[in-house]
């Protein structure tokens, strides 16, 4: 396409060059034709002029012969007269034919010349040759007739001169016009060449501009990436609350590929009465737009948590907002941890399942349900309630934690094993430990966020004993502590 655009003007120029050459060739041929025709005309004019001069000389030969014979009586004077006598009519005939071809309107003059010659023969030559009375005829008619004849021939010659001039003028004008056409064609060609050159230069400039534009876009992309990185970093650096009874830990791994600035986030907000809102989410796509959508979804979830106690209702509200915003698709889990009751309630929207780890039990995958946020209007989500035990940890993560090999079944297996290994060690930062278990020898193709929420086990005799006692007390008031073996998951669906 690029090459086509660049060679376009050259193609146009080539076509114009061919057209110009054709014009020049046609012009040249027409000039040649014109010149040869005018040469033919001029040759005929020349011949006609020779014939006219001959006609005059022959008449003068006749006249001189008769006059000489009349004066001297010498027979030799009659020789030119006799020679001219048969030639003159033929000469006049030839002249007549040529004048007809040349289209000169001098037929009357030629007719008069014939008539004068005939009259001269009748009135002068015949009487002089036949007797002495002839001398009077010579004086009476001779000079007069010869002068009239001379005038006739001159008139014919004038006609020839006029025609010659006309032919010359026409030829010259044609040649001039031809020159105009030729020069015009050459100028047009030169201008076209100039335009082609300019266009060519322009297209070169265009390519340069496009390169500059792509450099600008690269710079803009780099800037966008810095902004989205900064946004994401700002969100993630906001510290999770340090609470009594509930311990958060979190980690975030950016995608290993530079272009993949993701939209993963997590959130923890303390509510009242020992209740804590937690959320994790993932905006489809990457870049600044994803970061902005992420921020919007995140704020929507926090504000929904302040209005609704029920996670399903929170998600339904966030979905309505994102649908109204026409933002990107967002998957999320949000819920409430109640440190007094050791219970989690949560709802999911198109997101991979939370994992629950209880002391002495294998980690297990919790139920999910619900479509992602921001794709379908008026959706209902389900709240799942989990009654668990002190020391239980809820693990939330984004899809990068299970889709590193694009196989979520294998991913879940690896993740469950990583969670088990990480929590077995009693690590203070379980999220980081899980991350290290999975990505210690794998690279993260997508970005990954991991959030854990743990109910702190009361440690008797510790510095925090007082607080923990309170928690146990309040939890006891609720009477909801149940053995881990009988942990229950209750699911209810909110009205759309």
């Amino acid at each position: 396409m690029e090459r086509l655009r660049a060679s376009g003007p050259i193609v146009v120029f080539s076509i114009l060059l061919v057209v110009a050459m054709a014009i020049l060739a046609i012009a040249g041929a027409s000039v040649n034709n014109l010149i040869s025709r005018s040469f033919a005309t001029e040759a005929q004019i020349r011949n006609a002029r020779l014939l006219a001069e001959g006609a005059l000389e022959l008449q003068l030969d006749e006249e001189t012969g008769i006059r000489g014979w009349a004066a001297t009586g010498a027979g030799t004077f009659l020789q030119p007269y006799r020679a001219a006598l048969p030639i003159l009519p033929k000469t006049l005939d030839g002249l007549g034919t040529l004048l007809g071809k040349l289209g000169i309107g001098r037929a009357a003059a030629l007719r008069d010349a014939r008539h004068v010659n005939a009259e001269w023969l009748r009135l002068v030559a015949t009487p002089v040759l036949s007797g002495p009375r002839g001398k009077g005829a010579l004086q009476r008619y001779g000079k007069k007739l010869i002068d009239r004849y001379r005038i006739d021939i001159r008139s014919i010659e004038d006609g020839l001169s006029i025609l010659e001039h006309k032919t010359d003028t026409a030829t010259r004008r044609a040649i001039e016009q031809n020159t105009f056409v030729t020069v015009g064609a050459l100028i047009a060609l030169a201008i076209t060449g100039l335009i082609v050159g300019v266009v060519q230069t322009h297209s070169v400039q265009e390519i340069a501009q496009r390169e500059a534009e792509s450099a600008r876009l690269r710079a803009a992309y780099a800037a966008e990436r810095r902004v989205s990185d900064a946004l994401q970093e700002a969100f993630l650096q906001k510290p999770l609350p340090t609470l009594v009874g509930v311990a958060f830990s979190a980690t975030y791994i950016p995608a290993s590929e530079e272009r993949k600035v993701g939209g993963d986030w997590y959130e923890g907000v303390e509510l009242q009465d020992g209740r804590v809102m937690f959320a994790i989410g993932d905006v489809a796509g990457h870049g600044l737009e994803a970061a902005v959508s992420m921020n919007r979804a995140r704020q929507a979830i926090v504000s929904a948590a302040l209005v609704h106690a029920d996670p399903a209702k929170m998600l339904a509200r966030v979905n309505d907002e994102l649908i109204a915003d026409r933002g990107r698709m967002v998957t999320a889990v949000c819920g409430i941890a109640d440190a007094n009751k050791y219970s989690f309630t949560y709802a999911t929207a198109g997101h991979p399942p939370p994992i629950l780890v209880e002391p002495g039990r294998a980690p297990r995958i919790l139920p999910i349900g619900g479509v992602p946020l921001g794709v379908l209007a008026n959706r209902a989500y389900r709240t799942h309630s989990i009654q668990t035990v002190p020391g239980a940890t809820l693990v939330l993560y984004t899809d990068g934690a299970v889709e590193f090999e694009r196989d979520p079944i294998e991913g879940e297996r690896v993740l469950l094993e990583a969670v088990r290994a990480a929590l077995e060690q009693g690590n203070a930062e379980p999220a980081t430990a899980i991350r290290d278990q999975i990505f210690g020898f794998r690279s993260a193709e997508d970005d990954v966020a991991i959030l854990t929420i743990a109910f702190v086990e009361p440690e008797e005799g510790s510095d925090h004993g007082h607080h923990e006692a309170q928690i146990i007390a309040s939890a006891s008031r609720g009477g909801t502590i149940v053995p881990s073996s009988s942990t229950t998951v209750v699911t209810k669906t909110n009205a759309a």
Partner: protein, 108 residues
């Protein structure tokens, strides 16, 4: 795209990610005259969030156009991924072609 009697079948294969987003967007076109559509993903093993997002918008358009659609998924990895995404809540997901066609051609 091919026609399975009076069902339009849109078949895709391989791993569908953002690099193939344009291809997926072109493929997910509604046929005219309300012909039911079977999205044949039996050879698809992966779909990233951009593709899942495109699936939802396709289901939305189909529902607006009153076109019945079904998705055929066979690969367990994709089944799990679409479980995450809650795709089964938005439109019928089948693991067998015959069941999907029966549903699409049914009167119900």
């Amino acid at each position: 795209m091919s026609s399975d009697s009076s069902v339009v079948v849109i078949a895709l294969s391989g791993e569908l990610d953002v690099a193939r987003a344009d291809e997926v967007a072109r493929a997910l076109a509604l046929p005219g005259r309300g012909t039911p559509v079977l999205l044949d993903f039996s050879d698809v093993s992966y779909a990233d969030s951009t593709v899942i997002s495109a699936l939802f918008s396709f289901s939305e358009r189909a529902s607006e156009a009153n076109v019945r659609i079904a998705v055929l998924i066979v690969k367990p990895q994709l089944i799990r991924l679409l479980e995450y995404a809650g795709v089964g809540e938005a439109f019928p997901v089948f693991r067998e072609r015959s069941a999907a066609l029966t549903y699409l051609l049914g009167n119900g």
